[in-house]
């Protein structure tokens, strides 16, 4: 429309070419990860690695799944992530509702600012006191320490994501229920939550991915294999002398699989939710 046809075509070609370069840059490590995971040892430890796999094998995956504590680590990650997601969702729905509906009250304003500031406070600065707190309450080497830490650090953004969605729900929906004598809690559960499912999904997804991917607290709070989550466990696969790169890449493939699959199905919700939260915060 704006430019001549020829110019538009050149523009398109340049755009496609640049986007292809970006895609290669972004995806190459994953492609290489999968290729390496499928290679037998002889093809891994060679000075001339190739993209082509001569003897593709699942031995790396089989070894990881059966010979190491991998399944246990995945289970631990799942337990910790699911529970911290559920808890932070409940908390964020309540707090987000208050932020949206009672935004003019003094307490709510103060809490809002408090959350903005909390969002800026990084975990590593609180590592020592949090470690001491967990030590004091004997929560080190248990799921509780991680669930507590992960929940806390996602509460601010989750709350902002929920409240910015609640802002779009007209108040008249609730008024009818209130006239009928519904309590606030009942209103939230019967009126608000059913219309907020997409937003709840994207908020939950954010909480889940944050917990699943977290490394530092999992690395410091847990020292026994029984409760170790998958992210710090991957560090174990990197031996002091000889690293089993094939096994390591197979583990990586398996560790990113759940998150990637969930994301591909729900990516639309996820991105829009993430943006609405960060714009508000």
């Amino acid at each position: 429309m704006l430019n001549s046809k020829k110019q538009t075509r050149i523009n398109h070609i340049v755009t496609y070419f640049s986007l292809a370069l970006f895609s290669i840059y972004c995806l190459f490590p994953f492609v290489w990860m999968v290729i390496s995971a499928l290679k037998p040892k002889a093809e891994i430890r060679t000075a001339n690695p190739t993209f082509y796999i001569k003897n593709a094998t699942f031995e790396n995956f089989i070894k990881v799944l059966f010979d190491t504590g991998f399944v246990g680590f995945m289970k631990n990650s799942l337990v910790v992530s699911v529970f911290s997601t559920l808890i932070s969702l409940v908390i964020a729905i309540f707090a987000g509702y208050a932020l949206s509906r009672y935004s003019r009250q003094q307490y709510v304003k103060v809490t809002h600012i408090g959350m903005l500031v909390s969002q800026m406070v990084p975990g590593v600065l609180l590592l020592v006191p949090l470690y001491l707190i967990m030590q004091k309450f004997k929560l080190l080497d248990s799921y509780y320490s991680l669930i507590l830490a992960y929940t806390t650090f996602v509460i601010p953004l989750c709350t902002f994501m929920m409240s910015s969605f609640f802002d779009t729900i007209p108040y008249s929906l609730e008024e009818a229920a209130e006239v009928d004598g519904c309590g606030k809690l009942k209103t939230i559960f019967t009126i608000i939550i059913p219309v907020s499912i997409p937003s709840i999904i994207s908020t939950g997804l954010y909480a889940f991915i944050s917990a699943w991917n977290e490394f530092m607290f999992g690395y410091t709070f847990i020292s026994v294999d029984k409760f170790k989550t998958i992210t710090p466990a991957i560090m174990l696969y990197r031996g002091a002398n000889i690293t089993d790169w094939g096994g390591l890449m197979a583990t990586s493939v398996l560790a990113v699989l759940p998150v990637t699959v969930i994301f591909l199905f729900l990516q639309k919700y996820y991105m829009s939710g993430l943006l609405s939260g960060s714009v508000k915060g």
Partner: protein, 309 residues
Amino acid sequence: MPSKNQTEIVKRKLSRDQRSKVTAILLLMPAVIFLLGLIAYPLVKVVFDSFSYSHLINKTLSGFAGLNNFKKVVSDEHFTQALINTVVWTVFSVLGEYVLGLGSAVLLNQDIKGRTVFRIFIFIPWLVPIIVAGMTWSWILNPDFGILNNLLVNFHFIKTPINFLGDKNIAMASVIFINIWRSFPYYTISILAALQSIPSDIQEAASIDGAGMFKRFFKITLPQLKSVSLVLVFIHIIWTSINFDFIWILTQGGPNYATETLPLMIYRYSMKLFDVGAASALSTIMIIFMTVLFVFYYKKRSQLSESAM
């Protein structure tokens, strides 16, 4: 009697207000408990601990330390290096991320087929755990069996393999490069959302007036991105400067402290030397830096939103 009626209304209104106040407090309670207990209290404790003697294992060590903890960490032979490393790591990471994020967002904003697929491709690095990103890259960059060295040697860009993460002159650049790879997609998505909210008729009008592509970009598009850029850059300056995972996974601060930033130094003092006092002093120093940054950011941001109105 109107007066009685009025007082009744006031009374009812008051109780309604009070009721909603109680509701709001109850709804906020769980969030506030978490944030007070696990963010506010630890924050205060860090500052308090930085002025006292405290040890992770040896609990008998205690008492007021004055500024001794601060003196100790500042006179650490690697402190200045760590400070410089933190600045280099932060500035170059954020700069690279912003440039790539802006570029890819502008590309994705073009009206072309397959946009969604490209968007998903570009977003994927942000999704994977840092540990997986770190491990995969250290495998790619491996000097003995790594694919990158192999390609570079075969195409005669270099003669001998480079030890990307093990050479103290190159390690920092490598770590920054990997960090940019993993973090820029967040910029892409945020800037893209901002771009899509710019009304296209401004662009069209400028184009009719004869403004070229580059002129339109610098005169129209960029100014519209001012506020999202400010948010992105400041949040990432903070997120990057305090990042621990990335460097720890890739180099553990080595070789020979060449990539040790302040957060890694905090980790070294707390979890390796068990010196809670010194680690807290370092944290306090970082908290002060960040408070200054935050205040600056907050002022800039309210200025921007005022001028927008």
